[in-house]
Amino acid sequence: MKYVNEFRDGKKAEQLAKLIATEAKPEREYRLMEFCGGHTHTIFRYGIDDLLPSNIKMLHGPGCPVCVLPMKRIDAAIELALSPNNILCSYGDMLRIPGRARMSLQKAKSKGADVRMIYSPAEVITIAENEPDKKIIFFAVGFETTTPPTAVVLDQAIKSGLKNLFVFCNHVLTPPAITGILEPAKQKNITLLDGLIGPGHVSVVTGTLPYEKLANTYQTPITITGFEPLDILQSIYMLIKQINAGTCRVENQYTRAVNIQGNTKAQALMSKYFELRDSFEWRGLGEMPYSAIKIKSKYAHLDAEKHFTLVERTGTDNKACECPAVLTGQKSPTACKLFNNPCTPENPLGSCMVSSEGACAAYYTYRRNIKIKNVDSTNNQLRSANKHAS
């Protein structure tokens, strides 16, 4: 595949890794966070962290929309789906996220709810046209990358005069999430991160400008990065160079897709239909001001939150679930007691195990055998310690 295969060249990856090792000073540690779940997936799939010197630590960020959505929003979607006259449409990953009392959209479907998995929001328009007697609800999630297609759906619904289509908007914003990670550390006067691998496809839409203020405020270099292994390695190299030089600039590694302004047509469409929410709850990060968007009141007739009466329930996550700490880079998935047993992608207890971009799912897919080995060796040590004690 053009523009993909060239960026997966193993030899070049090895050479870039050598350069990184030469540039990184052995006497210090480098803590880098990849914001995007897509980057997390690439890092694990290609074993990028294994190519890095041990003093470069990769932390996994909250850039997985499926992972950060709080349970009450899933519960609301399930409630909408269970109503007999409704059809609820959403992306595949959303269907398996556990809600209250171990319910999920998939389980609601098995109980007879009309839940449709869609690949593209364009399908929602077709479903609404084909099912005029039903109410079609699009359970819309995602960062700035996924918001413009939802805006197109709203635009088309208005143009074609559809009266049976509603959007349950759960779109969230990237810069407030970065603030949510970096601000608490700044308050405590600690350095959580030395550098940030910035979102690639979010930035296709937003451009690189929104990150300037963040890099400056938190004195953290940011590199907007593509999703192939060579992109990530080059970005790490760029960050290490900045960290060594003591600079905190926004750099763009993903120049083939991202520019300074971003996609202005998409931005205009988003501002036409959406406005900031005063506050929105994120799993792991809690309530954050101005961190999400809602449909403008002018288009309230398309807003599922306005059309339907949604009772807000507060389902609680499994108490042992470490998703919040995993999402903020404070804990590794393997530090969670539920990891691999009983929480697996087939039977997820926490949201980070659902999407392939979730850090737990990435560890499970590519590293769980290593975890088992570690557990075994720890258990052996424990057993031998117990033996000596007795």
Partner: protein
């Protein structure tokens, strides 16, 4: 969720749509979010929508940078 891939535009269709080649599979996508797309352009495809045109010159530049970095 933000998964997006480069695809080549094969044919422009009505209503802001285009036929693209996705590793040999032909599929229809929406061009509603991007202006001035021509046949032969590569676009970044996300959930059925082109998000931007891919810049072939910049792609070459990045690949050249890998080569230059590696000569150091």
């Amino acid at each position: 969720m933000c998964l997006a891939i480069p695809v080549r535009v094969e044919q422009l269709l009505e209503n802001d749509q285009a036929l693209v080649d996705l590793s040999g599979v032909k599929t229809t996508i929406s061009l509603a979010l991007v202006d001035n797309v021509e046949v032969g352009d590569f676009v970044i495809l996300h959930v059925g929508y082109a998000l931007n045109k891919l810049d072939p010159v910049e792609a070459e530049e990045t690949l050249k940078l890998f080569a230059e970095d590696n000569q150091r």
